[in-house]
């Protein structure tokens, strides 16, 4: 025993604040008593307030300790959950005055605890999901557990309950191996020690001075009793999961705990709560099995689907682990159990990190509110707090990162543990993917769940309010959209039709999500302006629609099926311009009205292999459209081409495929500026895009789309042979919508840019010159008068 020791830099006991929390015995005692008091009070409260309004008991047990505190503390600080556990705290004193018998051999089996947790708790949970959600149920459960624990503490010595019976004892022991803390001892002091105070102080009868050599903290629960007995005990920061990177005595129950808990929590949840909420839930094997067996067995109030999801998760997970490890053991030429129990430690991060992500997400969305309000209720006052985040807040997805970290971490541990084996390198490399079978399986289940949601979508009955934005907008749109087509105005004979990229009945622009995985598409609405200058959409499209795709071939379009504002959608698989044409010919009063509209849109995915083919990227028309506007391309256009204010835009008007002179072309902007020109002999009209976007600095948007519409019109007398068709004149109209951005000269300045750079250069140049000149002062000899 030593009374003083110089602590290493990474020793938590030597740190100012953390050292107090983990080392100060009075503080630890007070804290443990407080937790115990809270535990007892919550149980008492559960029995006295059985109503639904008792959120306190559930907040204590299911809000803070189980899941949140446990999973967050385990892979970080280690088993501090056990360190403050009221059972262990009381158990120490009960054992002191108890019978101190040795536990019978059959009970000294860690699988009792593991199986209790997996089947006794999770199995029951999936069968009867609502059972322990009530305050009373919770209180009964924990009272029973406490009584069992206390009886066993009383009977047997060395806190055997914690080691063998406690359902989460083996779990915490196993997952704490990932933590970055380590309870050990200073060798320099221990080498001369003959008294072993740390071991005698330990209520679990462990030997802390052997922890470092064994590379395992065995059953240590970080109760910190040893650290008060001897100063040579250290509690250090280490690399996370460092103990798994070197040899250790594997414990079978730990490996099984990893596998079974992964199966019963992560995998079952993915099955039952993840995929189970998609539209494909009914097709999954567990639902099918449940359906099938329902014909023969009466499940009563039991959740059969949950039960079978659990059963299948167990089967799949265990077989994935066993089969992979079996093949790996054959490749490695080692016996199965050595391979399995040595490499199985790599499974550790899979469950716990995913669980942290889930717990934190729940904490921010619901848990915080539940805990604060529950505690307020428990102590007799009311509080109403808002949750820290709303479901769907995009930053919450950051926790999704943990799942990927878990997989990478697992692979690293596996790599390090495979490295420890004494076989040839080639065998190690060959065995690695098989040994990683469970990790791959875990990844696969996650990807599969994502795939299911992407393809089949979320079931709408549940969580209807969490549907994606698009659906919500659509629904809202339908609510105020008259579903009867006849309500829609029909364009008058003179009204021109043009394509709008937004739905005029919806004020908000809706972008579709999930872009990254699919072929991008575009949805446009053919609209017209009535006499009061309001945009109206069409109830029905009575015209021909053509689409010219990026490869200058005709492609398919689709019209919106729902009644209401009609829209046209098309897919854009390739980079380049897509031209959508609308051709409508109708006769009114001896006049044939040919109304055409065009929508030209460039798709460019910024990929590096996109080739700008001038031929394909030129303006195109089709023979089906009699009257058309084609934007004349500049010489140096690229995929990055955009229009900017102050620039010129040239358009060519084509009648029956030939340039037409004297057609009227009007450019009108959304800001109600317009200008009309007549086409020259090449059929070309050239406009200067005016600068009419003037906003305050704070509101200015350099990506502001200044939308404008080009309209061409032309009237001609019908040719002689057409006279018989019942019209004498033909009135052509064509439209071409586009937009331009504010010119960069409006908001950026080369003069300021250049002067910023030059001023910096001059200033820093002088600074260096001055600094050097000061240092380069000629050497002055200092003379000492040696005679004095």
């Amino acid at each position: 025993m030593v009374n003083f020791i110089k602590r290493d830099k990474n020793d938590i006991y030597g740190k100012p604040i953390l050292g107090f929390f983990f080392k100060n015995q009075k503080f630890l005692m007070t804290f443990k008593i407080a937790v115990f008091a809270l535990f007892i009070y919550a149980l008492y409260f559960g029995f006295t307030h059985t109503g639904k309004d008792n959120t306190f008991t559930t907040a204590v047990f299911w809000g803070i300790f189980w899941s949140l505190f446990m999973v967050v503390s385990l892979p970080t600080f280690g088993r501090i959950f056990c360190g403050i556990c009221p059972h262990g705290f009381m158990g120490k004193y009960i054992t002191k005055y108890g019978l101190k018998k040795t536990m019978p051999k059959w009970m000294q089996n860690r699988f009792i605890g593991v199986l209790l947790l997996v089947f006794g708790w999770w199995g029951v949970y999936y069968m009867f999901p609502g059972l322990f959600r009530t305050a009373q149920g919770t209180a009964i459960l924990f009272t029973v557990m406490t009584l069992i624990a206390f009886v066993i503490y009383f009977l047997y010595k060395d806190m055997s309950y914690c080691k063998y019976i406690c359902p989460i004892g083996t779990l915490t022991r196993a997952y704490s191996k990932l933590s970055f803390t380590w309870l050990g001892t200073y060798k320099s002091a221990c080498n001369e020690c003959k008294t072993f105070e740390c071991a005698t102080a330990c209520p679990y009868n462990l030997k802390p001075f052997t922890f470092d050599n064994r590379n395992s903290m065995t059953d240590c629960t970080l109760c910190m009793d040893c650290s008060s007995a001897c100063e040579a005990v250290s509690f250090k920061f280490k690399k996370p999961s460092f103990s798994l990177f070197s040899k250790l005595q594997p414990l079978k129950a730990e490996i099984w705990a990893f596998i079974l808990i992964l199966a019963s929590i992560s995998i079952t949840m993915s099955f039952h709560h993840g995929i189970g909420r998609s539209n494909a839930a009914g097709d999954m094997i567990w639902s099918k099995t449940a359906e099938f067996l329902k014909n023969y067995i009466d499940f009563g109030s039991m959740d059969a689907i949950g039960l079978f999801a659990f059963v299948y998760a167990l089967i799949f997970t265990v077989s994935a682990a066993l089969i992979g490890m079996f093949i790996a053991s054959k490749i490695l030429k080692k016996d199965f159990s050595t391979t399995f129990y040595n490499l199985g430690y790599s499974y550790a991060p899979l469950f716990i990190l995913g669980s942290i992500a889930h717990s934190l997400e729940v904490f921010f969305t619901k848990g915080y509110e539940h805990i604060v309000e529950g505690f307020a209720y428990g102590f007799g006052f009311t509080l109403d707090v808002a949750p820290l985040a709303n479901r769907g807040n995009s930053w919450l997805h950051i926790f999704g990162l943990l799942k990927w970290i878990a997989i990478i971490w697992s692979l690293i541990i596996l790599y390090k543990r495979v490295k420890l084996l004494n076989v040839s390198k080639l065998r190690k490399i060959a065995a690695f993917p098989f040994a990683a079978s469970l990790i791959i399986f875990f990844l696969g289940v996650n990807m599969y769940a994502g795939y299911i949601f992407k393809t089949y979508g979320k079931a709408s009955s549940e969580h209807a309010n969490h549907g994606d934005a698009q659906k919500r907008f659509r629904g809202a749109a339908q609510n105020f959209q008259p579903s009867d087509i006849s309500v829609f105005k029909k364009p008058a004979k003179e009204d021109i039709i043009y394509f709008s990229p937004t739905n005029p009945t919806l004020k908000k622009e809706v972008y579709s999500r999930g872009y990254y995985n699919r072929v991008p598409g575009r949805e446009v609405w053919p609209v017209f302006k009535d006499s009061s200058n309001i945009e109206n959409c069409l109830g029905t499209i009575e015209a021909e629609i053509y689409l010219l795709d990026a490869n200058i071939s005709m492609a398919k379009t689709s019209q919106s099926e729902e009644s209401g504002c009609k829209s046209i959608s098309f897919k854009m698989p390739d980079n380049g311009y897509y031209n959508l044409f609308y051709v409508d010919k109708k006769i009114h009063d001896d006049t044939l009205y040919v109304k055409t509209a065009k929508y030209e849109f460039m798709r460019f995915n910024h990929s590096h292999d996109a080739v700008y083919d001038k031929e394909k990227m030129a303006g195109h028309t089709i023979k089906e459209t009699p009257f058309d506007i084609v934007r004349v391309r500049e010489d140096d256009e690229t995929f990055y081409h955009n229009l900017y204010s102050g620039e010129k835009i040239s358009v060519q008007v084509l009648l029956e495929g030939r340039a037409i002179e004297g057609a009227d072309v009007t450019l009108s902007t959304k800001t109600l500026w317009s200008k009309t020109l007549k086409t020259d002999k090449d059929g070309v009209a050239t406009f200067t895009l005016i600068e009419d976007y003037f906003l305050n600095w704070s509101d200015f948007d350099k990506r502001h789309k200044n939308e404008f519409l080009l309209t061409a019109s032309y009237t001609k007398n019908a040719s002689a042979d057409a006279k018989g068709n019942g019209y004498e004149k033909v009135k052509y109209s064509a439209t071409y919508p586009a937009y331009y951005y504010p010119n960069s000269a409006q908001y950026s300045s080369y003069a300021y840019g250049l002067s910023a750079a030059i001023i910096t250069m001059i200033f820093s140049g002088f600074a260096i010159y001055w600094y050097r000149a000061r240092r380069e002062k000629p050497f002055k000899e200092v003379r000492f008068n040696e005679e004095n």
């Binding site: 590096h608 350099k702 030059i758």
Partner: protein, 327 residues
């Protein structure tokens, strides 16, 4: 074999490096003219704002990819992000940090500015050791900016202007396009406050880059986030700079020639892998080392270029006394 070895070890690494740098400079800056396209996961600052770029700096696509909505980024839909990253790693893993010393166009420009300074007869500057220790951390801050700012955009915490925040302040964006006659990057963007601050920082850094690299060798490399990113994966690389501490006499020649002022190259006699985070693997140290085998440049543990007495003497223009061999 022996002759080839001797030839390599006695080679004039300076000339070799100059031509290789010029070659890569042309490939990366003017590659577009020759229809060369090495993809967009190149582990050097061959800036994507240069419209004729022959292979794009990985940071520009990376920042755009990381700015996806977080749920998309962390789902299987972002496998393309992973593919881009793996491509980056494949490029990097072969050549290690030799990318910096031999291929990076921005590094080459700095070497040319250094050459100009040398011609003008102006002495170069160095940092003091405490300054060095403090300043070397900046590159990790920059790397954090590269990764975190687009992710914060994906989370909805920052404006879309922050997606390429690092590119906005990177001097490569202003300087590289100049070589193809594009001055459009040299403007201050006043459209928003963020844009104004970022672009003015960019131009200030450009000024500092030009002046700094005139006085200090490889001024910018010291703050380069790509260098930091390289260092994270450098252990896995095939090419390695190694040191045999037993043969080192701590003469300090290597430190004296080091552009990056890495002290460990002379001081550290315990570690074999002497590649440090600032290293640009220019191999000047190996060329300057007068001890046989004390420093060597390895590929897969095979010596590719080794320091030898003979090579040192040849490069120093020393006369070998007659009757003695170099062995």
């Amino acid at each position: 074999m022996k002759k080839i070895r001797e030839f390599i070890n006695k080679a004039d690494i300076r000339k070799f490096r100059f031509w290789l740098q010029l070659f890569f400079f042309i490939i990366f800056i003017y590659g577009g003219y020759f229809a060369i396209n090495l993809g967009n996961s190149i582990p050097v600052f061959s800036c994507g704002f240069d419209r004729e770029v022959g292979g794009m700096c990985y940071f520009l696509p990376l920042q755009h990819q990381l700015a996806r909505p977080l749920d998309v980024l962390l789902s299987a839909a972002s496998i393309s992000v992973l593919i881009g990253f793996v491509t980056f790693l494949l490029w990097f893993i072969v050549f290690n940090k030799a990318w910096c010393g031999y291929a990076c166009p921005l590094g080459t420009m700095q070497d040319w500015i250094t050459g100009l300074r040398k011609k003008m007869g102006i002495r170069f500057s160095t940092y003091t050791q405490p300054q060095f220790e403090k300043l070397k951390k900046i590159k990790y801050i920059m790397l954090a900016l590269v990764i975190l700012s687009p992710m914060a955009v994906g989370m909805g915490l920052l404006d879309r202007e922050w997606v390429t925040a690092f590119c906005e302040i990177c001097p490569g964006r202003m300087i590289t396009p100049l070589f193809v006659g594009d001055i459009s990057q040299w403007s201050l963007d006043f459209s928003t406050k963020t844009a104004m601050i970022l672009t003015s920082l960019g131009l200030i850094f450009t000024g500092l880059f030009l002046i700094g690299s005139f006085f200090k060798k490889r001024f910018f490399c010291f703050f380069c986030p790509m260098s930091a990113m390289h260092y994270i994966f450098s252990d896995a690389a095939l090419l390695k700079l190694k040191k045999d501490g037993d043969k080192c006499t701590k003469c300090g020649d290597c430190y004296a020639v080091c552009d990056m002022q890495i002290k460990d190259i002379a001081d550290d006699v315990t570690s074999t892998n002497i590649l440090r985070d600032d290293c640009i693997l220019c191999l000047k140290c190996v060329a300057a080392c007068p001890e046989d085998d004390a420093l060597h440049f390895d590929i897969l543990n095979m010596k590719l270029f080794t320091s030898t007495k003979g090579g040192f003497e040849k490069r120093m223009g020393m006369q070998t006394p007659k009757g003695t061999t170099n062995e």
